[in-house]
């Protein structure tokens, strides 16, 4: 495969990681704990969309190779993921009187409950959206890029969602309050911001984006109860690289981590791809270690610059 094709793949995968890492970062900064249930929130979104799509099916016209019914399923998946997260916040997290580590451990329990319920209903196997596979886009083939319209749909939808979030954060009252709360919860509270409401909105937005990420991940690969948990550490790596608590950092971190993850196959033949480097040069490492590389980058970032790319100085 050509480098361009790996880059294209990386762009698609990055879109998914960006969506999920924004949500994780938002919750980290406002609810103030590392939410280990975030990955399984993605799974919740994916399965909800799967069920919804089963009902509405091939409804409506096709957009980017996807029936309109799929976009309806996406919206339902996002809504249910957000609703489940808010319910969890109300029932589980809010009554807790423990610190951030206690919340972290509790969120692992929440993750297991989500996953167990999904497994009870759907089993542990893999399933897929019943959407026929597309042929790669003809116009891109001469450049050595095999990319389907579905991939374009993923990248496009992610771009729309990210742009929407940017607008929300910068130009709306809610966005201003969210930024204030993330920055300094106590000051926000004494300034008259009802931070508990902001917290609920954070869960809605964060989990909603995670749900969207889960649906796209299901479209990109396939759907299984472990999909969210398997990708959770990659998302954490993106958030840490970008800087915990920074939405824009999460975007950059998600983009970079997704790219690095997908570009791993190039490492053994670096010499052939980069000019001015001997042909034989390469890092002998297989794609099976793509995630391992990402995790090592995460640890390295924590060591060298725990505040990440865009984060403030670590507290």
């Amino acid at each position: 495969m050509s480098v361009l094709e790996y880059l294209a793949n990386g762009l698609v995968f990055s879109s998914i990681i960006v969506l999920s890492s924004i949500g994780l970062s938002l919750v980290y900064s406002i609810a103030n704990f590392a939410n280990f249930a975030h990955g399984d929130t993605m799974t919740v979104g994916a399965y909800t969309a799967l069920v919804t799509f089963g009902f509405v099916g091939t409804l409506g016209a096709e957009v980017l190779g996807l029936p309109l019914g799929f976009f309806l399923a996406l919206v339902v998946g996002v809504a249910v993921a957000a609703a489940v997260a808010v319910l969890t916040h109300k029932i589980v997290y809010e009554p807790l009187d423990i610190g951030s580590i206690g919340l972290l451990i509790t969120s692992i329990g929440v993750a297991f409950v989500y996953r167990a319920i999904i497994q009870l209903g759907f089993g542990t196997g893999f399933v897929e959206f019943q959407i026929p596979l597309l042929r790669p886009i003809e116009a891109l083939l001469p450049y050595g890029i095999r990319m389907t319209l579905h991939d374009v749909a993923i990248v496009g939808s992610a771009a729309v969602l990210v742009a929407g979030l940017h607008a929300l954060l910068q130009y709306t009252d809610l966005g201003r309050k969210m930024r204030a709360t993330a920055d300094n919860p106590s000051l926000a509270r004494v300034s008259g911001i009802r931070t508990d409401r902001i917290e609920i909105w954070t869960w809605v937005i964060g989990a909603g984006l995670a749900g969207a990420g889960g649906v796209f991940l299901g479209l990109y690969n396939n759907i299984s109860p472990r999909m969210g948990f398997n990708i959770l550490l990659v998302v954490f790596a993106a958030v840490i690289l970008g800087g915990i608590g920074s939405v824009y950092g999460a975007m950059v971190g998600g983009f970079l981590i997704g790219m690095i993850n997908q570009l791993t196959p190039i490492l053994p033949r670096l010499g052939q791809e980069i000019p001015f480097v001997p042909e034989s040069f390469g890092i002998p490492i297989g794609i099976e270690y793509a995630n391992a590389i990402v995790f090592l980058i995460m640890v390295a970032v924590l060591l060298v610059r725990p505040s990440g790319i865009a984060g403030e100085e670590a507290t």
Binding site: V92, I98, I101, G102, G109, Q119, E288, F295
Partner: protein, 465 residues
């Protein structure tokens, strides 16, 4: 009669939580005994379960040193367990790519160590070498993981250790030339194979046929009908091994926990800055605690490898880490008695769900439209209730009893000092300690451990600044 009174007195002496735990243990033992007597539970399988309980107790001890004593939030338990299991399996398994057949170490032409069959010739059984290698490997990896991560903030340490554990798992999964990949290693010998007497003991012990149980005065009934043969003695030997491991580790940890070294660990857990201010090299103490805990986990892995006779990368799955976390936080962080209790509960969840899944009828007895289909799906995927139970248990413990069922109250005090302070006219020292711990009074050194979220609270406080 007096023995009954004494037992009753001791029972009344316990805290309510302790009474509950005693009740649970008695109930569980009665259930198992019932299963044994009625023949529903094969004795060999029962002993296998006891072995697994012992293994989880060991793992919980290890995590207790790290999280319970020192407050290190380590999510790489499964990795160290796997390193222990693979450490010994790589040396002893039949299909190990780097097996011990024809192994030699020689220095300047002089053969120092050579392997013959299951024994290092003339020196020590191969399984003992496997244990030593596993423990050494775990210690090295613990240092390697500890160097970068132990300086990190608590929640970063959690994420980083989980990530590094995954790196370890991927290595075991993909380095086929060394670890045999996803096929795993099989054909391991039992731990005592090749030992002088114990190695052949199960085969030489006579098979016992149990047919009738005689109750004096009530006559005899035919209750049991099984033969206790070599597999049974083998299983008994395994249980003996794990009990010995648990006893030794328990004794060491009890000593360690109350020692000056253990007190420093507890200080680090409740207030790391204070420990620094007192001139302690907290990083060094954390590292020592991390290595000690990891070595104990590896010990559990070694036992498991020789119990199960098969290891695979599946043993390094993160879910195993969280089973151990359940055992520790449920039992009470920092409490070794609690860790033992937690080990029992984990096995009760793991095996109880398996048992229930087999016992439940395949279809719902009543024909209701939605219920029947839901019931069918749930029963088909019943293994998932295990995950559900684990998840709910974590949430409920954190919500209603974050200090765990058996918080370490008196474990932290030398018995002698308790006896000394209990002068006439004073209240029962135990009561005092309990109340202090509950109220969070700062005078006694013990209560700093009573709340598992101490470092968390401290951390949250920092974040607010």
């Amino acid at each position: 009669m007096s023995a009954v009174d004494a037992a009753r007195g001791r029972f009344a002496d316990l805290t309510r939580a302790e009474q509950g735990v005693v009740g649970f243990v008695v109930l569980l033992a009665a259930l198992l005994l019932f299963g044994l007597v009625t023949g529903g539970l094969a004795p060999t399988y029962f002993l296998y379960l006891v072995g697994l309980v012992g293994m989880y107790v060991l793992l919980s001890f290890g995590l207790n040193v790290q999280w319970g004593y020192t407050g290190l939030i380590n999510f790489s338990v499964a990795a160290f367990f796997g390193i222990g299991a693979y450490g010994t399996a790589l040396l002893t398994a039949d299909n190990s790519p780097i097996g011990a057949d024809g192994w030699q170490f020689s220095l300047a032409g002089v053969e120092l160590v050579w392997v013959s069959g299951a024994r290092l010739y003339g020196l020590l059984p191969l399984t003992v070498l496997g244990l030593l290698v596993a423990v050494a490997l775990a210690a090295v990896v613990a240092v390697a993981i500890g160097i970068p991560t132990l300086r990190l903030r608590a929640d970063y340490l959690a994420i980083a250790s989980l990530g590094l554990a995954e790196v370890v798992r991927l290595l075991f999964l993909n380095q086929r030339g060394v670890t045999n990949g996803s096929a795993g290693l099989r054909g391991l010998p039992g731990f005592f194979d090749g030992w002088p007497v114990l190695g052949t003991l199960p085969q030489t012990l006579p098979g016992v046929q149990v047919h009738e149980v005689a109750v004096p005065g009530l006559g005899s009934t035919r209750l049991l009908g099984f033969t206790l043969g070599a597999p049974f003695w083998q299983a008994l030997l395994n249980v003996g091994l794990v009990l010995a491991m648990v006893a030794v580790v328990f004794a060491v940890l009890r000593r360690v926990h109350r020692s000056p070294w253990g007190r420093v660990l507890r200080t680090i857990r409740s207030d790391e800055d204070l420990a620094e201010a007192l001139g302690k090299d907290t990083y060094a103490f954390k590292m020592q605690s991390f290595v000690l805990g990891s070595v104990i986990m590896a010990l559990a892995g070694v036992f498991y490898a020789h119990l199960n006779l098969f290891v695979s990368p599946g043993n390094l799955e993160p879910i195993n880490t969280f089973y151990v976390w359940i055992a520790v936080i449920l039992g009470g962080s920092g409490s070794n008695r609690g860790a033992i209790f937690g080990g029992f509960v984990v096995i009760a969840i793991r095996e109880g769900t398996r048992f229930l899944g087999e016992v439940l009828p395949a279809s719902f007895p009543l024909d209701l439209p939605l219920v029947t289909s839901t019931y069918a799906t749930v029963v088909n995927n019943f293994a998932s209730t295990r995950l559900l139970a684990v998840g709910l248990l974590i949430i409920l413990v954190m919500r209603f009893r974050p200090q765990g069922v058996l918080p370490p109250q008196r474990e932290l005090i030398w018995p002698a000092s308790v006896a000394a302070s209990a002068g006439p006219g004073e209240t029962d020292p135990r009561e005092t300690v309990t109340e202090d711990a509950a109220a969070g009074a700062p005078e006694t050194g013990s209560d700093s451990d009573a709340e598992p979220d101490d470092p968390a609270a401290r951390n949250g406080g920092e974040d607010d600044e």
